[in-house]
Symmetry: C2
Subunit: 445 residues, 2 copies
């Protein structure tokens, strides 16, 4: 490949901004072309979640580029799930071991931090640039800027333009591009719990709240101002569904009955419900991610459902891995693009499948007695043999040194072992007397 | 739905033209908008197969619209597979029972027949109309006609614009459209065996010729002029592959060694190999097929690989089924679109999967002894119990009253039963003494 000096990214979201920082630090001349206006000038973000769960895989890259401390100041640690049953009773399930937590963080706040840092490092962010086309052979980009068509060139092009990526759509028109987009039967709608007096929190601050209801659920993540952003994951059709909650009184009655304690905390519920959009949830898989000298990363190449809290984290990990490959191969982009394309794909597929599976866990199993007992036994295994038996959730969330694909494989074997363990007669009474050592050792084989 | 009078189709290929005939016969005002020039004026067809295998599912609709006899005059029946081993020795495997055959037919000739008939019935075919966009809510179509943008409206829009459908691509941008496109590792290239003297045939006329070679194969279908159109299905990469056959002598040596008898019959082999395009093979699945009053049919909604010879046949069956639903529901398009969308999908999925599986059968298993014995036993079962045990290939190819999805399910059960039968010790010697009655009866359960 010709000498690479100039790199253009399409999309100044979380992943594009972080990637730009990595590349600027390596000495490249970096431009980002962003379809939207500069969000720092007070533009609204339509239809996307307001806060996100930052976990280890996302934190490590932020630390690598020197933004770890700044990010940590913006987060609220969530140490476990707080389950709300339909009488309003609470149960707490820690996510991992003592001190382990996932972190609620504002999408907008983090994006601003990243854009500011990128600009500080010399990255040019060009707003209101809508990508119209790419000439993959000649490495040319075409944009619409206020109705005018302009052309740009770069040595490498990176599409970081999200789940509905234009760069990916352009790749899709080229030959032999494998692609799938699948929507689940559920959509989501954001709602809100306001702060208590003096920016206090009306419910437990350091938890991710879940109202699991079998086929659907409500969740809530804390914000720094004391409010919670709630998300209802709910079927589009059927009984009950977005389709059946039409009038204000439909909504009120439903929430009063099904989420009684949440209902009491949401004074603007019916307005929010009628005003806020109902959004769909898509899984995108595709391959190859590289066409000549154009690469797609993050949601553009592997959009996933949000139920493992790994969308942003996996995108940030893409950046870290691409940077590590550049280190390893001395910025030989031919090699790096090929290696990234081949080696990262199984991990993207794994987290994609795990995220779909986790929806069932969150909306249903977390309220299931046998499931909770399993979790308890696994937690005990983890306590006794912390290196040998790491529960799947912990591997994904707290162990950034384990690849997603590896975590999924180990998780499958753990499940087989635990299926056997759960067949023990009277397990609910006798579980503490299990032979934990031999259980943990089964995993080694 | 408002009264439907005017229907527009996008794409005047085989399926679009046949659908237009059905609709014109029902009394609708029908327009077809076609991107290409009128092929009847001598334009070339780039990159698409020259002849196709017409079987019962395709013949029935042609008969329904009164073109059965005309089509039959254009075909060469192929009663079975003629296998060529690498020494040039031949083995013949009949496709079905006596008199059953699939029919080699010219794509161009059949398309012309259909377009002529459509025009005779008052259908307007507008050539050089490239679809740019659709307003699904307002039922508007936008076309580029020699650089000019024009707008058309219709009460119902049908996209019959093939595997790379623009109508489908426009649907893909709307919310909650599930979509996948997957390419296999093989591509194909068309080659040719010229006629013998006086339009004679250099190899058996009434057969589909196969040179099965494990991971790849060559096939040949007869044309009315005595020639055969050959297709090499071959990996893009690896050893051997399109990638490794670069020079004229690479090609010559490879064919001489691997397809010695075919090599002798192809005087223009190396020229053809270097001139003709290498095309890829895609499977497209998507759903829903209906967006408001726009529907996609044929390859546009379910492009499949060619290994079951059912691409055109399944598209023609789409037309027949849509027409039958219009009969049944008295042209109530709201009901018909919904029923077609829901009920036809499992059949499209089934033939899609069967076509992928059949590649392995054609390129590899047809040369396998155990496989041939299985076929023999199944043929005998079919002879003895013609209604009770119909081999999968026959269900798909000769039994248009059995749905694809049903055929696939029955085929799975047949396979389980045959797996057991094949475990019989010394089956190769004792197969004629099997208890065929009880084998056939297992299928009923």
């Amino acid at each position: 490949m010709q000498n690479v000096e100039k790199i253009s990214l399409v999309g100044a979201g979380l992943v594009g901004s972080l990637m730009a920082i990595y590349l600027a630090k390596r000495g490249y001349k970096v431009d980002i072309y962003e379809r939207r206006e500069d969000m720092r000038k007070g533009g609204a973000e339509g239809g996307r979640s307001i806060n996100l769960a930052l976990s280890n895989r996302g934190l490590l890259p932020l630390e690598e580029v020197g933004l770890g401390e700044a990010a940590k100041k913006m987060v609220i640690p969530m140490r476990g799930r707080m389950m709300h049953d339909n009488k309003g009773y609470l149960t707490f399930q820690p996510y991992g071991r003592l001190g382990q937590a996932i972190n609620s963080i504002s999408r907008g706040g983090l994006n601003e931090l990243l854009m500011n840092e990128a600009e500080k490092l010399g990255v040019n962010i060009h707003f209101n640039h809508s990508c119209l086309g790419i000439n993959f052979d000649k490495n040319l980009l075409f944009f619409d800027v206020n109705g005018k068509r302009i052309e740009k060139n770069a040595d490498v092009i990176i599409g970081s333009d999200g789940a509905f990526s234009v760069v990916r759509r352009l790749m899709q028109r080229t030959d032999r591009f494998n692609y799938s987009q699948y929507y689940i039967e559920h959509g989501y709608k954001e709602l809100s719990i306001p702060p208590a007096a003096n920016n206090g929190f009306k419910i437990e601050k350091n938890a991710l709240h879940i109202w699991p209801r079998g086929n659907y659920m409500l969740i809530a993540l804390p914000n720094l101002d004391g409010s919670f952003t709630c998300t209802l994951f709910f079927p589009f059709n059927g009984q009950p569904s977005f389709d059946t909650l039409q009038t204000r009184s439909d909504v009120e009655e439903f929430f009063k009955k099904v989420f009684p304690d949440a209902y009491e905390l949401m004074p603007t519920l019916t307005d929010d419900f009628q005003t806020n959009p109902t959004s769909s949830l898509v899984t995108v898989k595709c391959h190859p991610w590289v066409k000549k000298r154009t690469l797609i990363i993050g949601d553009a190449s592997h959009a996933i459902v949000p139920f493992y809290g790994q969308g942003m984290n996996s995108g940030f990990e893409d950046c870290r891995i691409l940077n590590a490959l550049l280190d390893q191969h001395h910025d030989d982009w031919d090699v790096v693009l090929k290696k990234f394309n081949d080696s990262r794909k199984p991990d993207a597929d794994a987290i994609s499948d795990l995220a779909l599976q986790n929806f069932i866990e969150m909306r249903d199993l977390v309220a299931d007695k046998e499931f909770l007992l399993r979790k308890k036994i696994e937690a005990k295994l983890h306590d006794l043999y912390p290196e040998q038996w790491i529960p799947l959730y912990s591997m994904v969330t707290f162990n950034e040194n384990i690849r997603y694909s590896e975590a999924m494989e180990i998780g499958k074997r753990q499940k087989e072992i635990m299926d056997e363990v759960m067949k023990t007669p009277n397990i609910e009474k006798k579980w503490e007397k299990l032979d934990f050592k031999s259980i943990a050792e089964k995993l080694k084989v």
